[in-house]
């Protein structure tokens, strides 16, 4: 599929991004204090967060509600699977860049099986064959390479992020074969359509969790910030989901502060 000319273009994209990665590496990772929110532009972030919430309430949430109401769950699952399958090449690329051979093999097998037997990714027969899904992106790859997250940023529309993950998003966008093809053949509608569908699918998929936080949190902004940062860290450690075939290896930082630290020695 990929013609030499496009490969070159692809390489060019990657090289440009790698340069940004090197710049980012300047802000190396640091051990975090439990209460270090790493949020120097919190005031601005809260404004953007408020803007995103309004956008969500006006557009995305109603779209997700309709989506959940109109489509039977198996169809929703199918679309979710299909979108995940479209991302498989990018996941594969990041598996490779992280030196995760076994996970790369799993991703490749999943893509081959689900694109064919799974009818363009609508089904997920690969999971039943022991090739479980996992996620990777270039933000995580940078994390594995030792790039620190940088300050917390709320992006308009895209939501919680940081410089490392924002760069990762851009790289993943340019490295994606479907986007590349759409760009080279002036089919922008495909990229936009996929983006909109992904947004609605994601919002629908996490519907209950998002509503839960919005209703129950005393400070949803702070909750989303904490959740985002912890999730990204767990994702980089590959500690958030089943690893390839086997049960995930349990690693745990016992030295991080935790409840009960003083309580156990303190007289009550």
């Amino acid at each position: 599929m990929t013609k030499p000319v496009k490969t070159k273009r692809w390489l060019k994209n990657i090289t440009g991004i790698a340069a940004i990665g090197v710049i980012l590496a300047g802000c190396a990772s640091q051990q975090q204090n439990a209460d270090d929110v790493n949020d120097p532009i919190e005031g601005l972030n809260r404004v953007v967060f408020g803007f995103n919430t309004v956008l969500d309430v006006w557009f995305l949430r109603p779209a997700a509600t309709l989506y959940r109401g109109l489509l039977p769950p198996p169809v929703q699952d199918g679309i979710h699977n299909m979108l995940a399958n479209l991302s498989a090449p990018v996941v594969l690329l990041n598996d490779v860049l992280q030196g995760e051979g076994a996970r790369a093999g799993t991703t490749a097998a999943r893509f081959a099986i689900n694109s064919t037997v799974g009818v363009l990714g609508f089904g997920d027969p690969a999971s039943g064959m022991g090739y479980k899904k996992h996620d990777e992106d270039f933000g995580q790859t940078l994390g594995v390479w030792g790039v620190g997250e940088g300050p917390y940023i709320v992006l308009p529309i895209f939501g919680p992020s940081n410089p490392r993950d924002a760069v990762g998003r851009v790289v993943d966008y340019f490295a994606d074969p479907l986007n590349m093809w759409a760009r080279n053949t002036d089919r922008d509608g495909i990229t936009i359509g996929r983006g909109v569908l992904t947004a609605v699918d994601t919002r629908a998929y996490y519907y209950d969790a998002i509503e839960d936080i919005r209703n129950n949190s005393l400070d949803p902004y702070a909750s989303f910030r904490s959740l985002y940062r912890q999730r990204r860290e767990a994702a980089i450690q590959n500690n958030d989901g089943p690893k390839v075939q086997n049960s995930p290896e349990l690693s745990y930082d016992f030295d991080a502060p935790s409840p009960g630290d003083e309580e156990l020695t303190e007289a009550r």
Binding site: A34, N216, G241, P242, L250, S251, P259, G260, L264
Partner: protein
């Protein structure tokens, strides 16, 4: 973004009976695994028999048996624990427990209909009073299991208590702490601002539940 798994797991945590276990730990880790299993079995059994309306009280009993609520509440306040007056500490701890009960019993209820199962997969021990137990929650028709890790510590009375629950690698205690500390900071570094927010939120959520069940 956080996941749905995250809250599903939180809601499920107490409500589950599970088949165990292929563990590698021997001492405290092994004991902690048994503790988690026993607690989940008990929660499941009691949940099946309890009446509507008694849910919160049942939940309170289970929570206090299985979790060191006081230690969690204290830790969640971060450096503000020391700044709080004795009266504020007492009031805060009481409100914290009510807040946890009103938020988690709702989640618990939302997911209790599922035919779910929890399996302890392994544990890791730091020493003879501190371990982490990993479990896997599976739901029918959902391919991906939720990974739930339980941090278990032994207190000076020799009782095992859960002090943190991690869902897909995300610590509930840490998340709660981030939320509370932010509320205090924005309230001019006053613990009383959190106490006020906790009180009105808990009342609001409790009245929502009452309205919904009437």
């Amino acid at each position: 973004m956080m996941t749905r798994r995250f809250f599903t797991g939180a809601a499920l945590s107490l409500a589950i009976a599970f088949a165990s276990s292929t563990a590698f730990a021997s001492g405290f880790g092994k004991e902690a695994e048994t503790f988690i299993q026993t607690m989940a079995d008990k929660a499941m059994a009691s949940f099946r028999t309890q009446e509507e309306g008694q849910r919160n009280e049942e939940f309170r009993t289970l929570l206090n048996e299985g979790f060191d609520v006081r230690a969690i509440g204290k830790w969640v306040l971060g450096r503000y624990w020391r700044k709080a007056s004795e009266a504020e500490k007492e009031e805060y701890l009481k409100l914290f427990e009510d807040f946890i009960i009103v938020t988690y019993s709702k989640r618990f209820e939302d997911y209790s209909g599922d035919d779910i199962s929890l399996t302890v997969t392994e544990s890791l021990e730091k020493n003879d009073s501190d371990a982490i137990v990993r479990s896997k929650i599976e739901r029918p028709n959902v391919a991906e299991p939720i990974l739930v890790d339980w941090r278990v510590k032994q207190n000076k009375d020799g009782e095992k208590k859960v002090v943190d629950v991690l869902i897909a690698g995300v610590s509930m205690s840490q998340t709660q702490r981030a939320e509370f500390v932010s509320v205090i900071k924005r309230g001019g570094d006053n613990v009383s601002s959190l106490i006020e927010a906790l009180r009105s939120k808990t009342e609001q959520l409790a009245s929502n539940v009452n309205t919904a069940t009437q």
